[in-house]
């Protein structure tokens, strides 16, 4: 066991997957010698060679589109999109191709492809780089969406994603890449897709978060506890398919729910979570499901981003509102 950051855990997972399975390859912009702009692929080209760790031309649609062919042809591509905000370029190859090949071919072909991308704010990037558009993909049948919030999950979820026979969008919270360390087993392990994690137990309010918002949620829960409110924190881990059972069980217990995400509010995945909760646990609800989210504006310039992003203060206020409803 070593004490690893998320980025190190991802790097280790990639290396192990490539070691174990010669079909696994990594491709994307600057993933080779440079090791990725965040160093997720650091050292891989030296270990596995230029044919398995490929610096592609600067063309995201080509990265995903050729990966679809690679995957059908028997490889297990792990494609990197340098920042999630550039995935707009690949919406067609993801939305109409990668995610529909199994369906279109009635099961003759499938696309075991992982698309990795860093996302979220807090890092003072230029425009577009910090976008959180996971909701697009959660609304796209045929692809799974996964996001870790801890080093342990990062490795285990990434290995499970690479093993998955279907396309997985694996989005990585940029601001947590090096935020903290955690014991991560050396050996291969998988954290199953489709299962949320109870990050903290509690029984008065259910707080649902993912990726970069999990630490914010945990901190808010901590502070709420000091104020005498017991908050359960659910880290979704897989955004599609949603683990409705874990969410529902919790809300049936607590009777209150708050969803937190960085993405803009309208049409964000928080809406789906709220809609589902009120469908499944209507009679348990003491208050409406609250949403604490980015505002309905483009992600702002660095001088404003801290004020724009959900923070513990806003989450606490929502917890209070749910309690006082």
């Amino acid at each position: 066991m070593a004490n690893l950051t998320i980025i190190q855990a991802i790097n280790q997972a990639l290396a192990q997957a490539m070691e174990q399975d010669p079909r696994v390859m990594v491709l994307g912009e600057d993933v080779g010698k440079n090791g990725g702009v965040f160093r997720a692929t650091d050292g891989l080209v030296d270990r596995f060679g230029e044919h398995r760790v490929v610096d592609t031309p600067l063309a995201e649609s080509a990265i995903v589109g050729s990966s679809v062919g690679l995957a059908i042809g028997g490889m297990r591509p792990v494609a990197e999109i340098q920042f999630f905000g550039f995935i707009y370029e690949t919406m067609d190859q993801i939305g109409t191709q990668a995610s529909r090949i199994r369906f279109r071919s009635q099961g003759r072909y499938h696309v075991p492809l992982v698309i990795r991308a860093p996302y979220g704010g807090g890092v003072r990037t230029p425009e577009i780089h910090s976008d959180s558009i996971e909701a697009f993909f959660a609304h796209s049948p045929g692809i799974k969406v996964v996001t870790p919030s801890t080093p342990y999950d990062a490795k285990g979820l990434l290995l499970a994603s690479i093993q998955d026979p279907d396309p997985v969008l694996f989005i990585e919270p940029m601001r947590l890449y090096r935020a903290f360390r955690e014991e991560v087993p050396e050996e291969w392990y998988e954290v199953p897709l489709g299962k949320a994690r109870i990050a903290r137990g509690g029984n008065q309010v259910t707080l649902i978060a993912w990726g970069p918002m999990v630490p914010v949620a945990e901190k808010a829960a901590e502070q709420a506890a000091q104020g005498g409110v017991s908050v359960e924190v659910i880290d979704l881990r897989t955004l599609s398919p949603l683990d409705v059972e874990t969410i529902t069980d919790s809300v049936e217990k607590t009777g209150r729910a708050v969803v937190v995400h960085e993405a803009v509010r309208t049409g964000g995945l928080g809406a789906e979570v709220a809609a589902t909760i009120q469908e499944r646990a209507f009679l348990s609800l003491e208050a409406p499901v609250m949403r604490v989210t980015g505002y309905d504006t483009p992600f702002p310039v660095p001088s404003v981003e801290d004020l724009w992003l959900p923070d513990t203060g806003r989450v606490l206020a929502a917890i209070q509102a749910a309690m006082n409803y």
């Binding site: 063309a59 050729s66 679809v68 062919g69 042809g73 490889m75 199994r102 009635q106 026979p165 489709g194």
Partner: protein
């Protein structure tokens, strides 16, 4: 640079059916086999058109005029090479071994038409213009990485060359030296948009210059030119020379699809003029004038074609409907809890006869 000179159109048999090139690498039997295929496919295509007009199948995209380009190219492949085509490439798939009933099933809205039989390495027909060209690059690349010796051949139209994906494909293929053969069927129209409005260039082949790859123009209505050119190219691509761009100059003899009305946008004079050199008539002229085929044999070919097509129509029309709940089964390898619940609800509805639409 003189484009016309750099990219001449290769021809073996001209519109009049005269041998104007070398066909020494193609046996007489092979030529006749090509002819039988072209006649069969043309018969199928016309039958499909009529079936649509009778309301027996849905929208159908005819390939008449493009049989030579499709068949000639596929004939140059080996059995396990990859084929990645679009909605109009059923002639290619049929020649590769997909049952003739599949294009009909496709237009009847049967999901099975997407399930290419296991022994054929072809992707389902592609609807999104140029998207398949990137899949071909990936397939070819995967063949290279796994030393499989397979080539990927992708078909696309003249309109497709305007798409970003087309450009990204050629560039990536050139950089990784993927064994891809890009075959553009320049049928001169993208629905109502003529090639002169699609691009401001004389040829599609010249786009190869941008990627430092070989670009070749061939008469797409001349199956021998297509076949011989592709045979040579596929061999070199398989040996590792990198991708090649082929422009098969042909003509869409009819409408874009059964939903289209070309009289709205193109002169019938053009149709008349270009119909003369179309692949089936041309090959027939050659075969008859060279004595390789008699009028009687020709009749027999046509009869056989009709019979095969009739069988295909029968097969399509008696094909069992897929279970509607199959719609849930190929979204992922396993049903998600959501899909499981939705399928159950759907099945309940079906059992309650919930098929009426209001």
């Amino acid at each position: 640079m003189d484009i016309a000179q750099e990219f001449p159109i290769r021809q073996v048999i001209d519109a009049d059916g005269q041998l104007v090139g070398d066909r020494s690498s193609v046996s007489d039997d092979q030529v006749k086999d090509f002819y039988r295929w072209l006649v069969t496919l043309r018969t199928l295509d016309q039958r499909a058109w009529n079936l649509q007009r009778q309301g027996r199948i849905g929208t159908y995209p005819p390939f008449s005029g493009q049989e030579a380009a499709q068949v000639g190219a596929v004939a140059a492949l080996q059995k396990d090479d990859w084929i990645c085509g679009s909605y109009r490439d059923w002639a290619a798939l049929s020649y590769a071994g997909v049952p003739l009933s599949y294009p009909l099933l496709n237009s009847m809205g049967h999901a099975v038409a997407g399930r290419i039989p296991d022994e054929i390495n072809a992707l389902p027909v592609q609807v999104v213009i140029a998207a398949q060209t990137l899949h071909a690059v990936g397939l070819a690349w995967s063949s290279k990485l796994q030393n499989q010796g397979r080539v990927a051949l992708t078909f696309f139209g003249d309109g497709a060359t305007s798409q970003g994906d087309f450009h990204e494909s050629l560039n990536l293929a050139s950089v990784v030296k993927a064994p891809v053969v890009f075959v553009c069927q320049n049928n001169q129209w993208a629905i109502s948009v003529p090639i002169s409005r699609q691009m401001n260039s004389q040829t599609i082949a010249q786009r190869a210059v941008a990627y430092n790859i070989e670009g070749i123009r061939v008469d797409g209505n001349d199956i021998l030119a297509v076949y011989q050119t592709l045979k040579d190219v596929v061999g070199r691509v398989r040996e590792g020379q990198g991708p090649v761009l082929i422009e098969a100059v042909t003509y869409r003899l009819g409408a874009h699809t059964t939903a289209d009305d070309p009289t709205r946008y193109r002169p019938s004079e053009e149709e008349q003029r270009l119909r003369y050199g179309e692949p089936v008539a041309r090959l027939r002229r050659y075969l008859l004038s060279s004595g390789l085929l008699t009028e009687d044999e020709n009749k027999q070919v046509e009869e056989e074609a009709k019979a095969r097509v009739e069988e295909a129509v029968q097969a399509a029309e008696t094909f069992p409907k897929g279970a509607p709940e199959d719609v849930f089964n190929h979204v992922y390898a396993d049903l998600t809890p959501q899909l499981q619940a939705q399928r159950a609800e759907f099945q309940r509805r079906m059992q309650q006869g919930g098929t009426a639409r209001g």
